[in-house]
């Protein structure tokens, strides 16, 4: 099939970008979206033109590197699918496809469709970990965890940190990402210990990195390739209120 692509081209972080028209000819239905772009790029290189820069790594939907907004939806319209796992059979011959980078103040464009997502890493540095002693590996099941908690923690831990939630959010908020990390750790006994400090540090880091505030639109959940539920945002809110209450009680007792 033949497609008309409108792709965001931007030479560098400080340059102004624009949508550029490219034609994709003889696209196979079996190609993935990124393979289709590979073919377009080969054509561009053959003609001595600059290929389109885009992020990718595993191409099997688990690394969180690919990051394209396809026709206004991060990772495209297919539910719970990263754009690398989106196949061309979901498009029709003659379709016009708009391809844009993640857009948020906290995600400056590096080049074309590649954005700098290190702001998410900096949220992680602020508290997305548990403090443990190094040394021997503890025995499996030495700390007992109920199946229910293990499942909840795993649901939250499914987040691959791609940033689609932020790209989809009308406020450029990293709430679903942060909530997934906070909930994943707060649900487990090892992470419970630092839960109050963590939720304060991570939400503060989120604001500090230029992400917006959550206003409960739930666009994030709709585009999440791992289907992370916004119930984790409610959990983050609970954890935050609990932390504020603990802090208030401690200050009153001092």
């Amino acid at each position: 099939m033949n497609l008309t692509l409108y792709i965001w081209r931007q030479k560098g972080p400080d340059e102004t970008g624009k949508m550029e028209r490219h034609d994709a000819r003889d696209v196979s239905r079996d190609m993935s979206f990124l393979e289709m772009l590979d073919v377009v790029n080969e054509g561009l290189v053959k003609n001595g033109k600059e290929p389109v820069a885009f992020d990718h790594d595993c191409r099997e939907g688990i690394c969180g590197m690919c990051s394209l907004v396809v026709n206004g939806v991060p990772h495209g319209r297919k539910e719970k699918t990263t754009v690398c796992q989106l196949h061309m059979r979901h498009f029709k011959d003659g379709d016009a496809i708009y391809i844009e980078p993640w857009r948020a103040r906290a995600f400056p464009v590096i080049k074309d469709l590649i954005v700098d997502r290190s702001a998410m890493e900096r949220i992680m540095y602020s508290g997305g970990y548990i403090s443990v002693h190094t040394g021997g590996v503890p025995d499996g099941n030495a700390v007992l965890i109920s199946k229910e908690d293990a499942e909840t923690a795993m649901d939250a831990a499914e987040c691959i940190g791609c940033g689609a939630c932020i790209a989809a959010c009308p406020n450029g908020s990293a709430m679903l990402f942060t909530a997934a990390k906070v909930s994943h750790l707060a649900t487990l006994p090892q992470g419970r210990i630092e839960a109050a400090v963590r939720v304060c540090a991570m939400t503060e880091a989120m604001a500090g990195q230029g992400f917006g505030n959550c206003s409960n639109h739930y666009e994030c959940e709709a585009v999440c390739p791992k289907g992370i539920s916004v119930k984790f945002i409610a959990k983050l809110n609970r954890e935050f209120m609990r932390a504020a209450f603990i802090k208030w009680k401690r200050e009153r007792n001092d």
């Binding site: 206004g72 406020n171 206003s215 709709a222 119930k231 809110n237």
Partner: protein, 224 residues
């Protein structure tokens, strides 16, 4: 006050102040329905309410605080959100967000202006002193609130302003009700669709209740 500077803390303030105003709006609507029973009913309700000085002077400062906090943080959070999303997509497809949710700031501004107008009209009674309840009394010597309301809404322009504002209230509440439950952390994946659906229903019922008053007066069913 780190709580009032934090992202979630300010949202909690928005949720709680919004809830306080929602409870007031429900009480206000229930009180207003006395108008359907005629002039005696509304006027005696208004008089009894005024006699409860302790109640009035307890809720007034609470309402003023709630409105101030809601407006202040609403504008502040929205301004931050605009800054966090400076560039828009060439094509934008909304999947879960609603018109109501995206227009919260604008329905909020509309309601803010409406509240000022509404207070000037029925609390301070300066928009039309000739029909003011402070100057006109019914046969029992009570301030004639019924007469004031009916005469006000008989002017279709005023009635339309009220109907329009109450439609804005419906939109504001349909996002606001489900939103405060989420912000206060009272949601899980099972309750979320429930509160979204019934939050909108409650918003529509409240709005329709208020709208029914000018409609009934305009239609000439209530006369005074």
């Amino acid at each position: 006050m780190r709580f009032l500077k934090s992202m979630v803390g300010r949202k909690v303030v928005m949720a709680v102040s919004g809830l306080v105003m929602l409870l007031f709006v429900i009480a206000h609507l229930l009180g207003n329905t006395t108008i359907f029973a005629g002039s005696d009913s509304l006027n005696s309700y208004a008089e009894k309410l005024h006699d409860l000085a302790l109640l009035i002077w307890t809720y007034r400062p609470i309402m003023i605080a709630a409105v101030f906090l809601h407006v202040f943080f609403g504008i502040q959070l929205t301004a931050e959100n605009y800054k966090a999303k400076p560039d828009s997509y060439a094509i934008r497809k909304s999947l879960n967000s609603t018109f109501a949710g995206r227009s919260m700031i604008w329905t909020g501004v509309l309601l803010g202006v409406f509240i000022i107008y509404h207070l000037l009209q029925f609390t301070f009674q300066v928009t039309d002193p000739a029909i003011s309840a402070d100057r006109n009394f019914d046969v029992f010597g009570r301030p004639d609130v019924f007469h004031m309301v009916v005469r006000t809404f008989r002017r279709s322009a005023v009635a339309l302003v009220y109907i329009g504002s109450m439609i804005a209230l419906a939109f504001h509440l349909s996002h606001g009700i489900q939103s405060f439950i989420q912000t206060l952390g009272l949601n899980n994946e099972k309750t979320l669709p429930f509160f979204q659906k019934y939050g909108t229903l409650v918003a529509v019922i409240i709005s329709a209740g208020f709208i029914s008053i000018p409609v009934v007066i305009l239609a000439g069913i209530l006369k005074g």
